[in-house]
């Protein structure tokens, strides 16, 4: 469904992404793990066409169609929705108006009404606060709004950029449950996260990103057993005695 092949993206002279490939089939939840600054957001922005004249190299294909260097507005119309890092809601529009903007490209009134109902079921608080200015919502509510707004476009593919950022553990759990439910409805998901534990638990496949390169990729159940992932992303301590040497070796191998 989505085929990212060897893309390279740079900001001026800084190469942020250096040859990344991703491959998503319909129904997947794949996840990209990486520390702060690894380039996760840059990958998603490149896919969405938000970075002008990027990717510098490589191709992006969605449902058999080249989308690299297409306008964001047209990419959205093909059925990709992006929930950006930091939510990026419209602060002075009401919750309802925010959701309405989510369905901006659609003409099917009945379908929109149905999706609005569905979003209200996922996030009842949005329905309760539909006339409130979105900027006055709490962080968690804003995240729900951002996801709900993306769903209002009825996307085929949903890109999620660190939905857990700044939320309480309980809330993170709820949001991840909902992401799973969204996927069960047939929406393919690419989830970018620093919260490796949550991401590996809901994804079926994971990529580990370091300094703009994918250093490891496998089924999530394999990654969960991987010593490097355990130590560096899940914070599980390995045997004390060999640790120092092992870390040195691993770090080196990953570069």
């Amino acid at each position: 469904m989505l085929k990212v092949k060897n893309i390279e993206t740079s900001y001026g002279f800084v190469n942020a992404i250096r040859g990344v490939s991703l491959d998503l089939e319909e129904g997947d939840i794949k996840t990209v793990l990486g520390a702060n600054g690894a380039g996760k957001t840059t990958i998603l922005k490149t896919i969405m066409g938000l970075l002008e004249d990027q990717p510098e190299k490589g191709t992006i294909e969605f449902m058999g169609k080249r989308i690299d260097r297409m306008d964001t507005e047209d990419i959205v119309r093909l059925g990709i929705s992006y929930v950006p890092e930091g939510r990026e809601i419209f602060p002075e529009l009401t919750v309802f108006e925010n959701l309405k903007m989510g369905s901006y490209t659609r003409r099917d009134k009945d379908g929109i009404r149905k999706d609005y109902k569905r979003v209200s079921e996922y996030f009842p608080v949005l329905e309760e606060r539909k006339n409130q200015q979105a900027g006055t919502l709490s962080g968690g509510e804003q995240q729900m709004l951002a996801i709900g707004r993306a769903l209002m476009a009825r996307p085929k593919l949903l890109l999620l950029d660190e939905p857990s950022l700044g939320l309480s553990p309980a809330l993170v759990k709820d949001i991840f449950e909902i992401i799973k439910a969204i996927n069960r409805e047939g929406i393919t998901i690419l989830l970018v996260e620093q919260n490796a534990r949550m991401a590996l638990n809901i994804g079926n496949y994971g990529y580990v990103l370091e300094n703009g390169r994918i250093v490891l990729s496998d089924e999530t159940r394999v990654l969960l057993e991987n010593d490097d992932v355990k130590e560096f992303y899940l914070g599980i301590k390995l045997e004390e005695s060999v640790k120092g040497y092992q870390r040195y070796k691993r770090k080196k191998r990953w570069r």
Binding site: T72, V76, R77, E88, L93, M101, G135, S138, A153
Partner: protein, 293 residues
């Protein structure tokens, strides 16, 4: 005495309504493009001249000439955005101001070249000299029309931004352009339409004010400054604020001009603004949402 006072207030409100319209036009652009559009007055002036040409050179009746002038102003606004603002990539605030000043000078020069610098009277069928007597208050036909048009236009704008998909999309683009694009909103087109709409509102004000100010390339300089002041008074980002600011400014200015001094009429308006802004730095109706994390 009381009738005289109401009289002054009424005519103050009339001119204030015109300030309010231009202020609205500026606020709409400020919100979407984050630029103070100093070409706003000249855009309105050129559109008014266009109406003048239709009326006096081609003898087209007002009822047809006016809508044509509105269409012209819409296209003019879109053209200014396309020709002056779009080419600038990531300009600074100062850069944007210089760009709109450039547009202003081009339009000013164009008007002088096309229509000449001498003052003309605007052949409007609505007269400032035809007056009605409403319970002792004399109100001119022109002022009545100004009220009617301004109130309807503000109402239409309110409904447009509140309920229409396009209006909400304009607000969305103003608040977060990247997010708007992610909704599939073609932000460039929206920006262009915003400039068109703003220019159209200014043109309405221009045609309404022309019988009073008469027609020459300088006709909008004073109204533009007053409109800018009204917009600042109202908080620069609030449409009702701009309308309120215009009304207050028109009335105060007229009262002062009548009872104290005509020469300092304009100055007092600005004094008021300074005072208001000292007390409420963000303007009368600037809305601020509290951002929670």
């Amino acid at each position: 005495m009381l009738t005289q006072l109401s009289q002054i207030i009424v005519s103050g409100l009339a001119i204030g309504s015109c300030y309010a319209l231009i202020a609205l036009a500026m606020v709409i652009i400020y919100k979407t493009s984050e630029v103070l559009n100093f070409a706003q007055g000249e855009m309105a002036m050129v559109s008014t001249f266009f109406a003048y040409s239709l009326l006096s050179t081609y003898n087209i009746p007002f009822i047809i000439a006016f809508p044509l002038a509105l269409v012209f102003s819409l296209l003019l606004g879109m053209l200014v955005e396309f020709a002056f603002l779009r080419p600038a990539k990531n300009p600074t605030v100062l850069g944007l101001i210089v760009i709109t000043l450039g547009a202003e000078m081009v339009l000013y020069g164009f008007a002088g070249w096309k229509w000449g610098a001498e003052t003309k009277s605007f052949p409007s069928p609505i007269l400032d000299t035809r007056v009605y007597n409403l319970k002792g208050i004399v109100i001119s036909q022109l002022n009545l029309w100004i009220f009617a048009v301004c109130i309807s236009l503000m109402l239409i704008l309110f409904l447009f931004f509140r309920y229409s998909k396009l209006g909400v999309a304009m607000k969305a683009t103003a608040q977060n352009q990247m997010a708007a694009r992610l909704m599939g909103i073609r932000s460039k087109r929206i920006l262009s339409l915003t400039w068109g709409l703003s220019s159209l509102i200014g043109a309405v004000a221009g045609v309404l004010i022309a019988p009073i100010t008469l027609l020459d390339p300088n006709m909008m300089i004073d109204p533009l400054l007053k409109a800018f002041a009204s917009a600042v008074l109202g908080g620069m980002t609030s449409l009702p604020g701009a309308a309120l600011g215009g009304g207050i400014l028109g009335v105060v200015e007229n009262l002062f001009g009548w009872y104290v001094s005509t020469e300092f009429k304009s100055v007092v308006a600005f004094a008021i603004i300074v005072i208001v802004l000292c007390i409420r730095p963000s303007g009368l109706l600037a809305r601020h949402y509290v951002k929670k994390v």
